[in-house]
Amino acid sequence: MIELRNVSFAYVSEDVLKDVNLTFGLGVTAIIGPNGSGKTTLLKLAAAIYRPRMGEVLIDGIDPWSASETVRISARRNVVYVHEKPIMLRGSVADNVAYGLRIRNVPAEEVIARTEEALEMLGIKHLANERVQTLSAGQQQKVALARALAVRPKNLLLDEPTANLDKNGRETFMELIKELASRGVCIAIATHDRLLALKLTDKIVLVENKTVTFVESPEYKYTE
């Protein structure tokens, strides 16, 4: 669970988000809002990538910014944020998927097994030895998702995860998210994809005018 309490954030001087109070709990939460409203910033704050100017972010009850480095890393490792534009490391697909496991010093045999498992979940096991630079944007997005799933995060934050996926890819992705949510993973998705938001999510958060609002009835909001 990730909790944001009275969080404000500014890139330069003016706040992009102001006095945000929000909890990402169990299930799937969709974050919607116009371009530039602060959806990505909100996710990066929740992932403890950005430090809030004011307020606090609690990851499973721990404020990573006021904790020691060891505790901060440990808290951060419970959250994975996946960028909208997939960020790939040089090397093969398997190297990329295994990255999060290697930095956690997971034993080599387990790295191989969990990498294969994650690749299989995304249906890209056949690409394991391909160089990532040769892949399409959609395939790279799947690799980024597999990299996130390989570390089995408690909290998964996805920024426009279906942006580069085709119809089949989106359907597979939706099934996967449902499965992860049923396993108790807390998932937040920033998206413009209405279908995704309506089909998958239990809660919708609207980011607008520097603040966030819970939308009780997603169908109503979209109709509106």
């Binding site: 992932a47 480095e69 951060r76 959250v79 994975v80 996946v82 960020i87 490391l89 930095i103 996130a148």
Partner: protein
Amino acid sequence: MWQEVAEVVMRSLLISGMATVLAASWSIPIAMILTAKESEFRRTLLDVANALVAVPTVIIGLVLYLLFSRSGPLGFFGILYTPIAITIGQAVLITPLIISLSASVLRETKSGIWEMAVSIGATERQALITMVTESFPRLLTTILVGFNRAIGELGVALMLGGNIKGFTRVMTTVIALEVSKGEFEFALTLAGMLLLVTFTVTAIVRKVGKIA
């Protein structure tokens, strides 16, 4: 003539190569420190490095000459008019250039790779290592630019090396000397060699970068 050309080319490669390795060994860690975290102080240091890129070589040569001359504060080392003096001079000359270019490369990588590494659970140290590893081909290019600047400069080599035949004579100083003597054939041969060396080193480094 060809024996002398070969000797001068080898000496130039050795001195400038050593200077580049030396400069890279401190410039890249400095660039890493300057880009690791944002602060006004670090930004100011980076601005200073950027400004120093444009300092003429003769000024660096003059300052180091005064330091290394017998009556200077570092005169007791007795390295003036030796290849060591040229190596140090060239290393100092290309330091701001390598810092500036490397910092620019690392900053670009930071916004993507650093964030990705941190978001997947890397410690700051692991994220920094990933950032440098991923930037390797581009960092290699910045080092190459430094080498090309070192091997092609004249002021430092002339003032700190003294253009002593068989000892501190390098390609650029020989070209300058031969032109002043009206020996254009030898000067042109060396100029051709200088171009060949820079093109070859560039090609090799690019190939290595691609393989990496």
